[in-house]
């Protein structure tokens, strides 16, 4: 362990790493939020007994989710290398981190969305149908608002998972807090730096959780 940690040198680097993490996490979440919501809804509405019941679409989407989800993220990052190359033109660096993060997060979110929709009382959907509501109207005016509280909690969970992923992608030189902790802490046996970074990540996660809980409570205030 070094006798002296050179914080004057490290703090600007830490700030940069923090910015990179926020950037990676935000973009991935944005993509995963939209894609995951769409995918989750698609799985829900094509499920047996639901209003766009479609065995083939359901099976394909379900299989897609079930196939991707269990892959350990670090392996997944390398496995989608060719896709990343095709999408962003490179396989290392911060841009290269976004496709695997966004895809994995989208798939996870799709499952969370679907589970929360399945947990809804089908009676409200039936009531809306009985009033003459169209299918899409039911999706945006019944399903999403009724499941909003749990969906916010699911998104909070997803945000934390993506922060976690962003630390892992430090492995492919994507920068961010994970990369910082490894490069300036772990590899130099500087535990002070490691723990400082860990503390920042813990605070970040706590903030996200507190915010998510507050929003969910607001949505569930009924």
């Amino acid at each position: 362990m070094n006798n002296e940690t050179d914080w004057d040198y490290l703090v600007p680097l830490l700030q940069k790493a923090f910015g990179e993490t926020l950037w990676m996490v935000s973009i991935s979440l944005l993509i995963a939020g939209v894609a995951g919501l769409a995918l989750g809804l698609a799985v829900y509405v094509t499920r047996r007994g639901n209003f766009l019941e479609n065995r083939i679409v359901f099976t394909v989407l379900n299989l897609l989710i079930n196939t991707i989800r269990p892959i350990p993220f670090i392996i997944f990052v390398f496995a989608v290398g060719p896709l990343t190359m095709a999408l962003v033109g490179r396989t290392i660096g911060i841009e290269a981190a976004i496709p695997p993060m966004a895809i994995m997060a989208a798939v996870a979110f799709a499952r969370l969305v679907e589970q929360n929709l399945v947990a809804l009382d089908p009676g409200v959907v039936e009531a809306a149908r009985a009033m003459g509501a169209s299918r899409w109207r039911i999706v945006w005016s019944v399903l999403i608002p009724e499941a909003l509280g749990p969906l916010i909690l699911a998104f909070t969970f997803l945000t934390i998972a993506v922060i976690d992923m962003s630390a892992v992608v430090g492995m492919i030189g994507a920068g961010g807090l994970g990369d910082f902790a490894i490069r300036h802490g772990y590899q130099r046996f500087n535990w002070e730096v490691v723990w400082a970074t860990v503390a920042i990540i813990i605070v970040l996660v706590q903030l996200v959780q507190v915010l998510g809980n507050a929003l969910a409570r607001k949505a569930l205030r009924r």
Binding site: D121, G123, V124, E126, A127, A128, R129, A130, M131, G132, A133, S134, R137, S141, V142, P145, E146, L148, A219, R221, R222
Partner: protein, 404 residues
């Protein structure tokens, strides 16, 4: 109620099947039935009888497999989804579990129905206020459903269902989740909806009391079929079908259950008969007269008389003491004006084929006819029923008619 007006709903050989593991379920099996404009029509049956499926054919929440369902002059089985949405907007529906949107306030729930029906925003407010006033919830407009009692939730459901001035209101077990007093309130409200707004109401229930209290006419369903229908009094006073007799029995409990009969026989080993009491009241008079004219002593050991559709209905069970011949004469005499069910003696017992309630000690092998309501312990077993139809078994000495 006008009988000349065309029916509001006509089922013509309506069939609805669902695929099931073993072949298919015929949830609605060749139903032909008219629901008249302006009436309160009851559909009663045990769980799984097909009641919900039948009414869902009216607003085409379930498309019919075969046959016609004509709603207000239009065959809804022939309509495409877009058209159906318009038809549905003209039919209100309320549910056992209320099915309110928990994310919206009371006013928001009622407003939702208006929004779906395409009402301009500025007209909704007045309409919401008017509806909440009608159901007596004007002060709850800004509350969320979770802050309301069951009865209040159902009132919101009714306000929501009435929002777009429907001609028909479908109530699927609308009171089954409510306590008796609240049930009464909600039924009163449905009666107001019918009488003040002229809405044709279809009430699904498994509770005889609901039909008794609220309905003009009733259809009894079993196994997807309408086994009996007509005026509430005629259907229940002279039930022709086993299912109907069971409903009547459970609701009135005027006839001893097999277990109760067993106990009665211990205390009253003589000849036991059950005498029907019907609307004109003549039967109880006849009973008094017959007891006076025949050398027979009668002790009332069980019974009950209530009102159905505001007319007396029930039965009395008596133990008869006297010479065999005198008793036979007494029964023959009484049977000419009312119906008498002979339950035999302790030594030679006869069973009541329509008995409901706990069975007597020695149970025969489980022979349930389909799923029965949880509130209903157990009724007749099938082998007794089989006996009932065979010529050698005749519990009714002369009858089969429950005369007026």
């Amino acid at each position: 109620m006008s009988t000349t007006a065309p029916p509001m709903v006509s089922f013509r050989h309506a069939v609805k099947t669902f695929p099931a593991k073993s072949g298919e379920v015929r949830a609605v099996d060749d139903v032909t039935l008219d629901i008249r404009t302006g009436e309160i029509f009851g559909v009663i049956g045990y769980s799984g009888a097909g009641k919900s499926t039948l009414v869902r054919l009216i607003n085409a929440l379930e498309p019919a497999t075969a046959g016609e369902v004509i709603v207000d002059g239009q065959d809804v089985t022939a309509l495409p989804e877009r058209e159906l949405r318009r038809v549905r907007a003209g039919i209100g529906m309320i549910f056992q579990q209320f099915n309110l949107l928990s994310s919206r306030t009371v006013a928001g729930n009622v407003g939702y129905a208006l929004a779906v029906a395409g009402w301009p925003r500025e007209e909704r407010k007045d309409r919401i206020a008017e509806l909440l006033d009608f159901v007596g919830l004007a002060d709850k407009a800004r509350q969320y459903p979770s802050q309301l009692s069951g009865g209040q939730k159902q009132r919101v459901g009714i306000a929501r269902a009435l929002a777009t001035n429907p001609k028909i209101l479908l109530a699927d077990e609308a009171t089954s989740a409510l306590d008796p007093e609240t049930t009464q309130d909600v039924l009163d409200l449905l009666r107001r909806v019918n009488s003040e707004l002229g809405v044709t109401v279809v009430v699904i229930t498994h509770e005889m009391d609901v039909v008794k209290y609220a309905c003009d006419r009733v259809a009894v369903m079993e196994g997807g079929k309408v086994v009996e229908h007509g005026d509430v009094y005629s259907v229940f006073a002279r039930p022709e079908h086993r299912a109907t007799r069971r409903f009547v029995g459970t609701a009135l409990r005027d006839r001893p259950s097999p277990a109760a009969l067993e106990r009665l026989r211990h205390r009253h080993p003589g000849r036991i008969v059950t005498v029907a009491v019907r609307e004109d009241g003549a039967s109880s008079t006849d009973l008094t007269r017959a007891l006076r004219e025949h050398p027979v002593d009668g002790t009332i050991i069980y019974g009950g008389i209530v009102e159905i559709a505001e007319r007396p209905y029930g039965s009395l069970t008596l133990e008869l003491a006297g010479e065999d011949a005198a008793i036979a004469g007494f029964i023959t005499d009484l049977s000419s004006t009312t119906s008498v069910l002979d339950l035999g003696t302790a030594e030679h017992p006869l069973a009541d084929p329509d008995a409901v309630g706990p069975r007597a000690t020695t149970a025969s092998p489980e022979g349930d006819e389909g799923p029965s309501s949880p509130t209903l312990p157990q009724a007749v077993d099938t082998d007794r029923l089989a006996d009932a139809d065979s010529p050698t078994w005749n519990p009714f000495t002369h009858l089969r008619r429950w005369r007026r």
